[in-house]
């Protein structure tokens, strides 16, 4: 398992003077489910791209298991940190669903029965087992997104980073993503997800990190981050608390970040 530490990370894209990341620090232990939230352009995607070496710090450090990520090749980081892009079409290229999912683990040295097992497991987890021979571009956008998730899952990296995994997903798709996150965390893998879906965040994650303008402004459990005391900070980065949290606060029920916590608080009255 892998520990991640981000130390005073600054990132300036070559063309502008904007500090996409402006001194971000946090540490993550293995097996946690962490959601990264905040307004568009607050630096969420930039931050996660540092975790697998796609971007290199302007200053500061990213430590993966104590080793500086900047000193490691992208290939070596890829064994430990799997990143699923927001837009699946940026990572899909194979002619079949199975071929797409095989590519990553094959490059990591999986072969024979091990390769089959990890590919089958990943296809099954996202509900694409019956589409192994389908051309990825015959799948609709939401299933292509699940395919991109499966192809990273199959690499069995100890860290899984998901950029907006629920966008474009319907009710069942969101459930799929949630069960993938839960199963990965139950195996001791660390899951970091960028999301604007606050219900998904509140119900499926242990810890919520809130960003604004390249900085970290809140970091805590869903109960604390979505509690009324945090709303001013949340709204400063254009995040609305989940509906259940807003209603619970208005009814004086305390912190009720999830539907379940709201209903049980009402029932206990």
């Amino acid at each position: 398992m892998v520990d991640i530490a981000v130390e005073d990370l600054v990132h300036v894209y070559a063309q502008g003077s904007i500090r996409a990341l402006d001194g971000v620090s946090f540490a993550i232990g293995s097996g946690q489910r962490i959601a990264l939230i905040g307004q568009n352009g607050s630096g969420k995607t930039t931050l996660v791209r540092h975790l697998n070496g796609l971007l290199r710090p302007t200053s500061g450090r990213v430590l993966i298991d104590g080793a500086d990520a900047a000193q490691q090749t992208v290939a070596s980081l890829a064994r430990r940190v799997g990143l699923v892009f927001q837009d699946p079409d940026r990572q899909i290229f194979a002619g079949s669903v199975r071929g797409e999912v095989e590519f990553g683990p094959r490059n990591l040295g999986f072969s024979g029965a091990d390769l089959r097992a990890t590919v089958d497991g990943a296809l099954d987890a996202v509900g694409l087992a019956d589409d192994a021979r389908t051309n990825p571009y015959d799948l609709g956008g939401s299933r292509r997104k699940l395919l991109a998730l499966a192809s990273v899952l199959a690499m069995r990296t100890p860290v899984l980073v998901l950029d907006e995994p629920t966008t474009g997903q319907d009710l069942r798709g969101v459930e799929r993503v949630r069960s993938v996150v839960d199963a990965a965390a139950a195996e001791g893998r660390t899951v970091i997800a960028v999301s604007h879906d606050m219900r998904f965040v509140a119900e499926g994650f242990d810890r919520v990190i809130v960003m604004r303008a390249g900085r970290l402004i809140l970091d805590g459990t869903p109960s604390s981050v979505f509690a009324e005391a945090s709303w001013i900070e949340l709204r400063s980065t254009y995040v609305d608390p989940p509906p259940a949290a807003a209603i619970g606060a208005r009814l004086g029920l305390g912190a009720t970040p999830t539907d379940e916590s709201l209903i049980s608080a009402l029932a206990a009255q």
Binding site: Q15, N40, G140, G141, Q169, P243, L262, I263, L266
Partner: protein
């Protein structure tokens, strides 16, 4: 008025039809919501309603699409672009790829309509103002975050200013502030007489925005009618569509033996 009259559509090379006998009327000044599970046909319907399918992407159609009484099949593509504008699900598909700045990107559409220079400048300025992206005007569109790109893509569409709009999950990557800007822009367009077809997974957004909603299931219209009625219809979940928060929480409360009145009053407050 944009009319789909008995539309069935099959993609080139596909075994089965993606739309089956779909008829709907989009009236001027109206926002019509389109919901359904993934691959129920929402994106396909958007492509057909905008005239891109089958003419730009192939495939076979039965039935007719009429824009203000004219069959789209009889309209030259460039003329069609001025009458119905489409926002694709992925903003990277939407952006021209040739503009060096956001300003030029937004101006791309009206410039290509051959409008006088002053008119282009005026429309571009207004679209940028409406979506509050003035601070991005000098940036490179390909360097924006996913959400910022989505706002730029929609601004480009506003600048073209067609009387009919087809929006395919226009807020998928947006934070709540961006989502509200798009919703406000849509409401204002409708108030000015435009007609807007909007496919969305976010039913909370649709409940405040649409007068009517059509739910698709496997390419056919499954539910259609007054927005509030369709969104409260218990069959919606079986179609794979997430209910609005107010409907979901009321259902959960009832299941727990709690009178949902107080709770729903808080949601709608």
């Amino acid at each position: 008025m944009l009319t789909l009259d008995g539309i069935s559509y099959r993609y080139a090379g596909a075994r089965r039809a993606s739309l089956r006998d779909v008829s709907l009327e989009l009236r001027d000044g109206e926002v019509l919501g389109l919901v359904g599970a993934s691959e129920a046909g929402k994106t396909t319907l958007c492509l057909v309603a905008s005239g891109l399918a089958p003419r730009a992407i192939g495939g076979q159609t039965v039935g007719r699409v009429l824009i203000d009484g004219t069959d789209v099949a009889a309209e030259p593509m460039h003329a069609l672009a001025a009458r119905v504008g489409i926002a694709f699900q992925s903003p990277t598909t939407q952006l021209s790829g040739v503009a060096a700045t956001v300003y030029e990107e937004v101006a791309f559409g009206p410039t290509n309509l051959g409008l006088p220079r002053d008119e282009v400048i005026d429309r571009t300025a207004r679209a940028i103002e409406t979506l509050r992206i003035t601070s991005l005007a000098a940036r490179d569109p390909s360097r924006l975050s996913g959400g910022q790109m989505q706002l730029v893509a929609i601004a480009g569409l506003l600048a073209v200013g067609p009387p009919h709009f087809v929006l395919d999950e226009p807020t998928a990557q947006l934070d709540p502030a961006g989502t509200r800007l798009v919703a406000d822009a849509v409401a204002r367009l409708a108030a000015d007489g435009a007609s807007i077809l909007i496919a969305e997974q976010k039913t909370d957004l649709l409940s405040g925005l649409c007068s009517r909603i059509v739910a698709l299931d496997a390419g056919s219209v499954a539910l259609s009618g007054d927005a509030a009625e369709v969104l409260a219809d218990p069959r919606l979940r079986a179609l794979g569509v997430a209910e609005p928060a107010v409907v979901r929480l009321a259902r959960l409360a009832r299941a727990a033996g709690i009178e949902p009145g107080r709770l729903t009053a808080e949601v709608s407050a």
